[in-house]
Amino acid sequence: MLEQTEVKAIDAILNDAAGQRGVLIAVLQRVQEKVGYLPDDAMQMIAGRLGLSLSQAYGVASFYKHFHFKPRGKKIVKVCMGTACHVRGGKAVLNEMEHKLGIKEGETTEDRAVTLETVGCVGCCALAPVLTVNDQDLYGELTPKMVDDIILTVRSEHGTHV
């Protein structure tokens, strides 16, 4: 269930968007920013208020990789799988990440601290292989050996590392 504050936030977003054309994607983006993912209740609210059927709203949301229907971790680690990263060993970094976090690509750790994902290219091919954390911090020229350190930093900022 959505919390009261979240309902209010979604309501405000929908009020902003009232009467505009083609705002569905923008609304979904903003709601996801607030809530962290798109729960079913939120989707129903959005579809209802924008005058769309629930299937239309889900149709759009499920088309794009950016939208998620399950809760995600506080930190989202995206390992780049672009061409340059691929030829310089991005796969090895991803494998090591999966191994060390104990989750597969696309999954979240049980304590909801870290979600591991891949991305097509972050456009920093000069520093390949790279990964980003929450789309902000970028780590470049990686080797599998650096993975431990990165996990430690990622977890420590969240305050759950041991």
């Binding site: 569905l24 759009v60 794009y64 672009g82 061409t83 030829v87 097509g120 789309d135």
Partner: protein, 632 residues
Amino acid sequence: MELTFKRLENVQDLAGLRARLLKERGESDAHRVRVCCGTACQATGSNKVVKKFEEEAAAKQVKLEIVKTGCQGFCQRGPVLIQEPQQIFYQKVKAEDVPGIFSTSVLYGMPYRKQLYRETPMAEPNEEMQDIPFYKKQKRLALLRNGFVDPCNIYDSIREEGYAGLAKVLTEMKPDEVIDIVKKSGLRGRGGAGFPAGLKWEHTKKSGAKVKAVVCNGDEGDPGAFMDRAVMEGDPHSVLEGMIINAYAIGAQYGYIYVRHEYPLAVKNLGIAIDQARALGLLGRNILGSGLDFDIEIKEGAGAFVCGESTALVASLEGERGMPRPRPPRLSEAAGGLWNMPTNLNNVETFANVPTIIVKGLDFYTKIGTEKSKGTKVFALTGKIKNTGLIEVPMGITLREIIFDIGGGMLNPEKQFKAVQTGGPSGGCIPAQFLDMPADFDTLASVGSIMGSGGMVVLDEDDCMVDVAKFFLSFTKSESCGKCPPCRIGTWQMYELLEKITSGRGEQGDIERLEKMGQMVVAGSLCGLGNSAPNPVLSTIKYFREEYEEHVREKFCRAQRCQGLGMFRIRPEHCILCGLCKQACAFDAVTELRDRFYIDQDYCTKCKACYSVCPTEAIVIEKGGAHVAARK
């Protein structure tokens, strides 16, 4: 410094503003450094460098102007900076180098030798940017101000002739003359296909509708490409100016920039640029008093590669699923574009070229490039190469010049150059025999690749071409929107075949099957994604067929990249009997004898665990796996 804005009422105001800015610059006695704050340099610590400079200047009470520029191109050596007026280029600058640079270079104009560029550790350093081989052969038109101005300060751009093209167009030219110039310049769309931009503009104008739109495609999803990102981050005003000129030429009122969600800095810098342009009256109602009404809005993409296709992009702008649709109607026709407005859609780099063409004139522009491909092209040079980064070169330069002169040759000089991949998942691999071929739209297409948006990934002998083809197909397979079956099913089937070949289960006839299926996907798909998705496979089969056959017949990967191929053997003469391989093997295939280890082929799954753990490289992968595979 707090920026203040006063609306510019006409073109004279703009000229006056530039004159004033230039005069202030001339009179100013402040020292200046231009620090690259592109994404790559920020990742390597340029923000700390900037902060340290601020601290140094404050401590020594020296007036220092720090220009936080966009990407200067040489990402490999980041963070980079230029110190003015001596124009000294520093690379790999860390915060701890800043005091040294400050006291020798900024204050006394002497080069701080430690951070200068050297081609090899023993070589004499190069002081200035244009002496460095990486920059020597470049020609910057679309990136004219990129890496030189502060993208978050419109005055910086205006001082360097920003919006001069717009002023010239508004005062001296009629809309049709603008289209004529763009047509005559031979500017071709930089997004990939190379459609003449002027023709597109003319189509849109002739649609006859009163309300039109201009859309800028910044959905740069190609893995291995980042030129649009650099332009949007480093010089957003050139994109805005190109769009406004376009709007004037075709009579459009609405502008949209569709930016990829993965580029947060581009979204931010574009937003700032639009706000500042609006405050100066360069966007909005009655631009520079000319009566032109045009405004631009940013729309963030939501992560779908197919949205780089123009009709899919428009669908996504409208808030729908980003699926392409059959053409006609084209976007440029009535009822074809965004919300049924005739729409002119161009790539970021195409728009960034427009102001240069207008300001420098036709004579200047048409002299650059080849007969059918005019001007310059920005490439993202990456892969197994010494100098990676963003380069802009005249069309028609040979691939050899790009890779060996600008790129500095192979990353590991002992490895042989194998191929260069251009055009991302829609392009192909070009082998060494075509290195002396000029790089332009038509010659690249003639060897089965495309210019694409300009990604260039260099591969060496450690890269398996079958694996590279598989990599691209795994990308297009998951990015196919699913609308038309040839693309949705075809790419999946092709991927499965490649998976089969690279895991040692390839059969006679698989390569032919791949080729046939590839041709069907090309012929049957609706949009550019499907039409070009088989290119990486078809081009690698064409030029590296023997490698495919090796995978299928001999179960061997010469680059030793594919798992599950080849025969693993321990060379006793190199083995130090450390036993790590035995520990690493999960299948008990490594057997210990009294004086040596050996690998039992019947148990070996070729997982490469022993191979990667061996400290003396005593384990080799040899041909001969075929017999064992047959026995199993």
